[in-house]
Amino acid sequence: MPERHVRLTFGAEQVREPLVYQMGHQFKVVTSIRMASIDRSVGWVILGLEGDEDEINRALDWARAKGVRVDDATLGDVVEG
């Protein structure tokens, strides 16, 4: 099954919560952190997600509902000036 990669960006409110852990327990998805950085006010993680497509989408909707920003994990925008 191909792994899907997303970038989650957290604000100050979510930085302290074990969101990735919770995601792996509440949904049938396997999470793996590929890259991450967190400091006092914001953080991001590039997360590899394996599982059923619908289940992954439910997990991401759950994260959005928690106030997390979800982007497809690319190296940033491909549009240039």
Partner: protein, 416 residues
């Protein structure tokens, strides 16, 4: 001569890959960057050799990650570094220089990055080149593809300035305007890049492409007489150019061409698209992506690929970041034009407006010798200032009509 690029190296985990059209680390997804054989470069690029080279960025060929045999030379680079005394005085600096990159073949610094990208694409054997752009990159890719006789696909959002649309169409690429936002163009082009075997300049040849901006750093150092300024202010979209200027300066030191640099590097963004400057203001290295809404469309990248590295570099060099509103951007364009005779596009307005803020706040001290990067020409974004310039005097073809109109404007009679 071929090229002294030795490998691609992951910026995060340090793994190395053979030179190929790839851009991200298979292991950690970090971005790949070109690594060089600096011993070979040191031999091939002495001050004498560089000074006797062509008046283009190809004078730094040993530093470029492509075989110059494949170049498409439209005359890019080695643009003027101009002393800007009138502007310096207006904003409160003793010594200010303008790096005038509006005079490149397609009127922006993008010709530097595309010069390298197209040479590398040809070296890799691609016969089509593509990009997703808000204008300047599109213009440059289309022009260089025309010069190379390569098939070219250019994707732009459908709300771009006329100058930028025609400025690509004239070279007759496959120009595609996408009905949708920047985000939609992004998503589409990421998908396309996986399905078509094209050199996508800012995707699969991005590691090489980005290196072209180092030439700005080389030129500044050489043009100042093989030394570096106290401060450089540059516009940031992805943050790539901003980080590569500094990489170039450090490389010049590494190969012994200049003394150790102590340049503070500061970045400029528009308030309506300021993920990097906002992160700097919040004292964090992690930016939050934004949805752009600014007249500075060339800088409208909401999720900047090199944002993190730009912020690290501010920390490393003691530099900073500022942001400017649309009104300040227009005022910046006008101030540069009226004091120095240089007509910049909106990105230049952002740079001048942010420079002004950095000086006003005391972040840049009066005595710091500063270089401002003016990265694109004003005829491309004429809409931004068309309604802000002084109306011409409209007269009949008589001396009387002229003196009357001039008197009215001056509020005092004009004697003949």
């Amino acid at each position: 001569m071929s090229s002294f690029n030795r490998a691609l190296k992951c910026r995060e985990c340090g793994r190395e890959y053979a030179i190929a059209p790839i851009f991200s680390c298979e292991f950690c997804f970090g971005p790949l960057e070109v690594a060089y054989d600096y011993d070979a470069i040191r031999e091939a690029a002495t001050r004498d050799i560089i000074e006797s080279g062509p008046n283009t960025l190809w004078r730094y060929a040993p530093f470029l990650p492509c075989d110059p045999a494949y170049k498409v030379d439209l005359g890019t680079g080695f643009t003027p570094l101009l002393r800007a005394d009138r502007l310096a005085k207006a904003i409160g600096l003793d010594t200010l220089w303008i790096k005038n990159d509006t005079v490149n073949p397609t009127w922006s610094f993008k010709d530097r990055v595309v010069s390298v990208a197209i040479a590398k694409a040809r070296e890799f054997g691609f016969d089509a080149i593509a990009c997703a752009s808000t204008g300047n990159l599109a213009n440059s890719v289309a022009a260089h593809a025309a010069g190379a006789g390569m098939e070219c696909f250019v994707f732009i959002p459908d709300d771009l300035e006329r100058g930028k649309v025609v400025g690509s169409a004239i070279y007759d690429p496959h120009l595609v305007t996408v009905r949708g936002s920047y985000d939609d163009v992004n998503r589409l082009c990421t998908e396309l890049s996986m399905q078509f075997n094209w050199a996508f300049v800012n995707i699969n040849v991005r590691p090489y492409y980005a290196e072209g901006s180092r030439s700005l750093g080389y030129e500044i150092a050489e043009q100042l007489g093989w030394r570096t300024p106290d401060h450089i202010v540059a516009p940031m979209a992805s943050g790539s150019m901003f980080t590569k200027i500094w990489k170039g300066i450090k490389e010049f030191h590494h190969v012994g061409l200049i003394d150790e640099p102590h340049t503070r590097m500061s970045g400029a963004q528009a308030t309506g698209c300021s993920p990097i400057s906002t992160a700097f203001a919040n004292d964090t290295l992690n930016f939050i992506p934004q949805k752009p809404n600014t007249i500075a469309k060339s800088l409208a990248i909401g999720n900047p690929a090199d944002g993190y590295y730009a912020l690290k570099q501010m920390e490393e060099t003691g530099g900073g970041a500022e942001m400017a509103t649309d009104e300040e951007i227009v005022a910046g364009i006008k101030l540069l034009a009226e004091t120095e005779g240089i007509f910049a596009e909106t990105a230049g307005g952002v740079t001048i407006a942010c420079l002004k803020r950095l000086v006003a706040s005391g972040f840049i001290k009066r005595g710091e010798e500063t270089v401002a990067i003016i990265s694109g020409g004003g005829l491309k974004t004429i809409e931004a200032v068309a309604d802000e310039v002084t109306e011409p005097l409209h007269i009949q073809p008589t001396v009387n009509s002229f003196t009357e109109a001039l008197s009215a404007r001056r509020g005092a009679p004009v004697s003949v």
